[in-house]
Assembly symmetry: C5
Homo-oligomer: 353 residues x 5
């Protein structure tokens, strides 16, 4: 399908506010909850725990990182929400993978809704996966639309005893997570850029009909990236401007900000280049048609007069003096050769040969 990459809007009409309805392409199995606690010295990782266990960890004075691996089960989301004291209207946002990236601050909690892009090399489709962060004083909860191993290197760094990140606060963990999510865009953009280059090369080679669709699809994917990067930029700007993050993390968040700006720059540049491709494609079609027409014109223009001459002497008039001349046939053949030579000269002068 052409447009799978676009986020389709499916919205329940007339539902009262606060209703928890999963909106997204998430899975259907049971939702796994993992927890990782650390305090700079040692770390403790637990996989597949119950909500109550997670609740205990959240009250732990150590830094706690809870991962909820799916947003399609309202029951689990509600329980985790109650355990962490998340406002119901935020829970609704967390379950709604159709929502734009956004930042909400309420009391001591920060809610960050972000998207991470996934590009399927096979089907050449771009999908956005929602990742929500709930950042509290000593904990970060991540809600993932789909299980992902994106955070494995970070987990490894945290569990490495004495690593710098394991000594940092919740703000810094949130930064590290957001940094990974933003980095993902580079990879996708890189892929789109090399696909654009492939198309550039292909256009002059054969300009198969589906190239226009390929260009259209990349353009659509760049529009989606642009639309999701814009609010992402707003989120980071708010974090920087509104004194939400601690001063020592300011520099790190400003690094993410630079990245998002740079990504938007690249998306814009690529969009302009891709939209230029359509023009080249159109001109290459026209050039090809021109080439076809020239072949037809050259052949027709050379042979139609010749056939006419042959036709003349195929007439059956009883009185046609040339027919009886001994050298008549060869004279006609000679004339024909002259006509062909004249035509070829004409085409060469026109630059068609």
């Amino acid at each position: 399908m052409i447009s799978d990459g676009r986020t389709r809007i499916r919205h329940p009409l007339g539902a009262p506010p606060g209703t928890l309805i999963p909106l997204g392409t998430g899975g259907s199995g049971p939702v796994r909850i993992d927890v990782l606690s650390f305090d700079g010295k040692e770390s403790e990782e637990q996989i597949g725990i119950a909500v109550e266990t997670a609740e205990k960890h959240l009250k732990d004075p150590r830094m706690t990182w809870v991962t909820v691996d799916g947003i399609h089960d309202p029951q689990v989301i509600r329980e985790v929400g109650q355990a962490a004291g998340i406002h119901p209207i935020f829970l609704e946002d967390i379950m709604n993978a159709m929502i734009r990236p956004k930042l909400e601050v309420l009391d001591s909690q920060i809610l960050v809704l972000m998207k991470t892009p996934v590009y399927d090399e096979q089907s050449k489709e771009l999908v956005l996966r929602q990742v929500s962060l709930v950042v509290g004083p000593r904990y970060v909860i991540t809600f993932l639309e789909q299980p992902t191993d994106l955070f494995s290197p970070l987990k490894k760094r945290i569990t490495t005893p004495g690593s710098s990140i394991s000594k940092k606060d919740a703000d810094h963990l949130a930064y590290a997570l957001m940094d990974i999510l933003v980095d993902r865009y580079y990879t996708v953009l890189d892929t789109l850029e090399s696909r654009t280059e492939d198309i550039e090369h292909e256009i002059l080679d054969n300009s198969r009909e589906s190239l226009s669709l390929d260009i259209h699809r990349i353009r659509g994917q760049l529009i989606i990236l642009r639309k999701v990067l814009w609010p992402t930029r707003e989120i980071v700007r708010s974090l920087l401007r509104d004194d939400i993050t601690s001063p020592e993390n300011r520099l790190y968040y400003s690094d993410i900000y630079d990245h998002v700006i740079q990504l938007m720059d690249h998306v814009d540049t690529l969009r302009e280049i891709v939209s230029g491709l359509m023009d080249i494609y159109m001109s290459s079609i026209s050039n090809r048609m021109n080439a076809v027409m020239k072949v037809l014109t050259i052949i027709a223009t050379i042979f139609i007069p010749l056939t006419f001459i042959a036709g003349i002497y195929g007439m059956n008039f009883s009185h046609m003096p040339e027919l009886d001349w001994a050298w008549g046939y060869f004279a006609v053949l000679g004339i024909m050769v002259l006509v062909v030579a004249g035509m070829l000269y004409f085409f060469r002068r026109k630059g068609w040969l």
Copy 2:
């Protein structure tokens, strides 16, 4: 008709201000007035009441929701306006379905003019219906351009004894109504999006001539949606910013705001995709022409030289040595086969076969 979806402007020239003239596509029958009173404990619904009855309800300390099912009868609008103390210039706006969405605040009353989109699957036309809300301290009056069952689920929720909405104030009822109106755009946008996908598929299949008109029409409909969502956004922003709504409802209105922003985002994305479709359509026409030209060129280029050769030996010269050769005919046939083979090889090398 192509452009029924566009709001046609019909404006009476030179009428003095305050003249009540119905402007819209509303009906012509008598205007029905319904009322729904509730106080969190019990609710009372009356259908088809007189204006005087409605006036009594408006003074009721219970929450009152009055619905006026038509804006084409100046007499009724004037009476309701007097009963509720609505400024005459607002009444003019309420009756004018051609006006942009807008918000007016006067003393204790808030006037919200909104549009809800209706998409006719049959004729593929988009119509905007005006819904005006007059929000007072303890009442909401809705003026509908056309009767609609859009609000039935809300009515059911209110009349359900002990439901949360039945305990809320007028601000909240207004929110609930606006939420329903905004949700409507999702449905219409969803339809337009799937129509766009259909066209994407169709372009490569057959590119019938009317496809360009279909693209044009969807583009026009998206422009209309954009133009009506923009002032809607302004309305909700004003409600949020200017301390018009009560603080407890702020969060709900901000939810509508998110929705409107998201809708505008989607409309913009879709507009860019739709405008890309025109390019694909043009390139597909050109590709098709190329294919036609190639068939013509191949046939002509193969047979014109052959016909010429046949023409040569159809000439009636008395002295044509080849004609008398025993194997002359077969030699010519052989030459023709060689010419055809050469041409086919040439076309294959050009990639035309």
Copy 3:
């Protein structure tokens, strides 16, 4: 002429500032001055008066509305200017019909330069006529580029004894005049919209060559409307914001403001739709060419091979066995029928028939 609708700039080079030079398409005859005085109870209308008479009326405590029916006579403009105490640099603006709409406030006088559009159904040209208003404490002077009966209904309302407008102040009279001028745009826009619809229908029917010029012309006219509505909006906004109008008229001016915004919205929508028309027109030309090419290709592809076969048996070789077969001729006719059938099958499969 194609571009009559555009305001051509004719500017005298090097003239010192304050020189009164008529710039516009105004007439050449004598300039008529009319006056209408009223005080809510009775009204007095005088037509074709001398400047001195007008001066007396201007000092009248009654409301006075002076109409100057032409701006091409520097003498008259200068005298009226002196009588009403208008700054010379304003007089220059009043005579210059090439100027953008603008608002100037000096002491107790407000100068409003507006344009009213006139659409000539015959030549399909759009002309902008300048109407300047000088609003003083108890008078309004209107300078018309061309005589018009646009204000007749207003005059009738004023002269109707006891009408509400006859009791209002100069601000309100200015409002009423501006309202009429703005309403005019609705009519013109309506005409342009229905012309756009006509073109939509025509494109698919016959796409005559001049359609592209028609589209171009409408686009040009919409650009002109946009360019003139923008400063008009600024004028009304200034009047609203800068406490120039009295508070009781604020609501009325805000009504004009809504109208101008709505007009700009409509112009923008229409412009996008019109610019889409050009695409459809182009694609319809291409489709038409495709159809022509298909006819040529079908005919040529069917008959060229047949002619070749006939050519074969038209050759005069002395040894051509088929020629002597009794059923040779009919066999060849049979083969030709098969070729035709094959071709038709091929075209049907390609979807060309």
Copy 4:
């Protein structure tokens, strides 16, 4: 050459700041300095004076207007600069005709760099000439890239005894000069507008190939005008806003401001119209191709079948019964007439004839 109208950038690499290098298309001869002193009563004009004489005049309590007729001689510029106390970095700007219009204020001096457009009717090229004004308390110095008689009418007005301008201050003289420079744009724009109209007419008549280049060139010239008007607007706005000009001249400068705004409006309108022309041109080429194809198709479609029929009866089968029928030949001619009639009917129904 196509693009002579564009200001080509030639910049010396690595030169230290303050180096005086002439950048522009100015002449090469000796630079003439003229001076005009006046005090409202009498005026004194001197042509071709030495720098020292100019210096004396600058200290004169009378108003002094010094004209430097060329900016290509660093020596002269440096001497004049020292005489008038102009900052060296300003002198660099004055000599650099490649710079954008700009305004600099330093102590008691105002430096205004402006461009005046020159349109060469012959070569149809647009050139921008730099005119710099250095405005001091009692003097104005104008540096001209090229000698011009643009200011002759102004000189005449000043030297007219008792003229109003001869009594005004340096600010006012600067205004008068800028007014003349701005007025120049009207003339050029007028020319471009009438050229646009010519092209509109020409497109439908013959659409010669170079029309696209003509459109391209006008578009380029309008871009240049836009780019130079924008900073010009900024200059005038700064002069108005920043209390640089005296209050009595405010009204005059605001007049220039109106003119610049109006010019930008016109440039924008014209740009949109010109860019629409390209579309019309493209559609006219396509229409022309359509016409050519129709002629070919009609001729080929009529004669190819006829030639085939003739070919049939040109075959030499020994057994072809029709050949021996007495009326065979005439029957075939009759059939051919019927075929032609059928084809013509078909084309007429298609609307091709």
Copy 5:
């Protein structure tokens, strides 16, 4: 390769912040460090020194300019960073040649990341090279992505005894360096402009197919220049606005600012002109196709009817009266001449000949 000019993004996924990874197209050999110390009287230049020597120089009260000729060796960068007290996160930026130009101020150090464009005449590719400036109280350190002789003239000016620049402070040296970097854009823009003119000329001459790619490539290069000039402008504006530079250098920086603005202006103008070229190219292809079609149509339209006539009299009917007429053959030839004359007249009237 088509798009070498674009900065390709290669970003290491999941690396912790502060990791020094060279990102760019820099070399691989050892990194050379040069130092130039001066105090207005004498200067001392050392080439290829050790980091420790550089450190000593940095503490020197004389002005010191250290050049690091490569950013691909993390070891060297780290050591230089420690010697000069540069924040680690800045070192990361310095090594990342993929980053946008940016300005960072921390305590007494200013970090300026700039790009200088390099245009390869051979491959017609545009590359951006990063140059980072670290400006301290009495030193400037430049990190170059690639060795360059861009700064040689500046070095010569500094080492010239008694030159003005050798007496200035670090701010001024930074200005001189930035000025050189910005000047570089003029050269590149000049090249792009003359290439654009070449293409303009070429389009009408032969419109070879790769012209569309050339236009596309220039467009891409202009987009890159635009994207890099924008943040450069921001850098200079910050330097001017935020009191970072000393007042005496303000005028110089404002000169750079003017240059950057002017460059952006030129890039924009050129972009609009280049995008217009594509239209001309398309129209020239269509014109060429038109010419081809006309030749085909003229030839076919003249000879097809003639061939038909010849075919008629090639039929073998036993009863064809014309064949026996003595002048039949010549009559037919005469008719053919008339047909040709008629066709030629028709084509001449159509303006095709």
